[in-house]
Subunit: 139 residues, 3 copies
């Protein structure tokens, strides 16, 4: 049975979504099964158009700024979040949207970029997928 990695993507910070997707795609290319659970602020990144928008990152306050960061990443030929999430999907990664978050924050299915989402689930879905996982992270 292949090894498994699950990540709860709670944050919406640009840098943390990057880490989640890079770790996820890395694990896929090593043969692991990978599921990302987008919840709370993280789920807002799956709203149509939000992956390419400036993030509400604390680094905006600290003088680095998302614009400067994106420019730096572009200069080093780091791919964008949009490309990264599509690569993740193509490699076979699974994305679950937290249905409780949708209710609490008033996010409809129509608002979300459904091309990215494989499933809608609750904490039960997460526990079921994670209890046999080899790597479990909360980002």
């Amino acid at each position: 049975m292949p090894k498994k990695l699950t990540i709860v993507v709670h944050s919406e910070d640009l840098d943390k979504i990057y880490s989640a997707l890079i770790i996820g795609s890395g694990a896929l290319s090593y043969g692991l099964n990978v599921t990302l659970f987008f919840t709370f602020w993280g789920l807002r990144r799956l709203i149509k158009g939000n992956l390419s928008k400036a993030p509400l990152s604390k680094y905006n306050f600290l003088g680095i700024g998302s614009w400067a960061m994106k420019r730096k990443m572009r200069k080093s030929k780091v791919i964008s979040l949009n490309e990264l999430i599509h690569d993740f999907k193509e490699l076979g990664g699974k994305i679950v949207a937290c249905s409780m978050t949708m209710k609490v924050l008033g996010i409809t299915k129509e608002a979300l970029d459904q091309s990215l989402i494989d499933d809608y689930g609750s904490v039960g879905t997460y526990i079921n997928e994670s209890k046999d996982a080899n790597i479990t992270l909360f980002i």
Copy 2:
């Protein structure tokens, strides 16, 4: 032997404590053993009265605000942190307070809501409980 979940609750952000308790209670209802280790800023949430107070969340700076968030959660019939932590305890969840944090931040046992705490422990307690856990998270 039942499966096990442990979480280090390092953050005091309202939304992160929510996630910790929801994941914890979800795991309990699926038959897992669950222990939450409250440390650093997270431990301050166990000071008497602090669970219902406005959180020192970064989202206060970002125009969402804890008041608006609480109102939204109330409207969607999401239960409060106070209810959530009591449900977690009733389901059999275990809460450990970090004794080193108590020393460093000058928090006495008397200051903490002892009805919530099952045990006082150090990093050794955490490692012992986590080395055989199936899901380990840092929140």
Copy 3:
């Protein structure tokens, strides 16, 4: 075979680096193998002289401040980050610097405190070390 703990150190917040090192050293003293992967903002803490500098912590905005925190920690005889990371190394802990972060943020090997670093690696290194780990955290 000894049990294993891996931590992705993504944050550069003083309090989170503390937690990573305390959990890491604790695990080492219980006989586990421990590897910390310093990435993104976390990696900047391994730049020469940066471990003792004031952290870009959100707590600076919240009236606690790194100065007050350091003072409190000194008063409670909590050891400094510098001492902590050297203890971690002496106990046999392993530190991997993320080579992709170095490229993206333009950090050279010469800029990093090489006495702290055992290896330079990518996400593949992380997955290889973590897929058989017993405790996996993202900090």
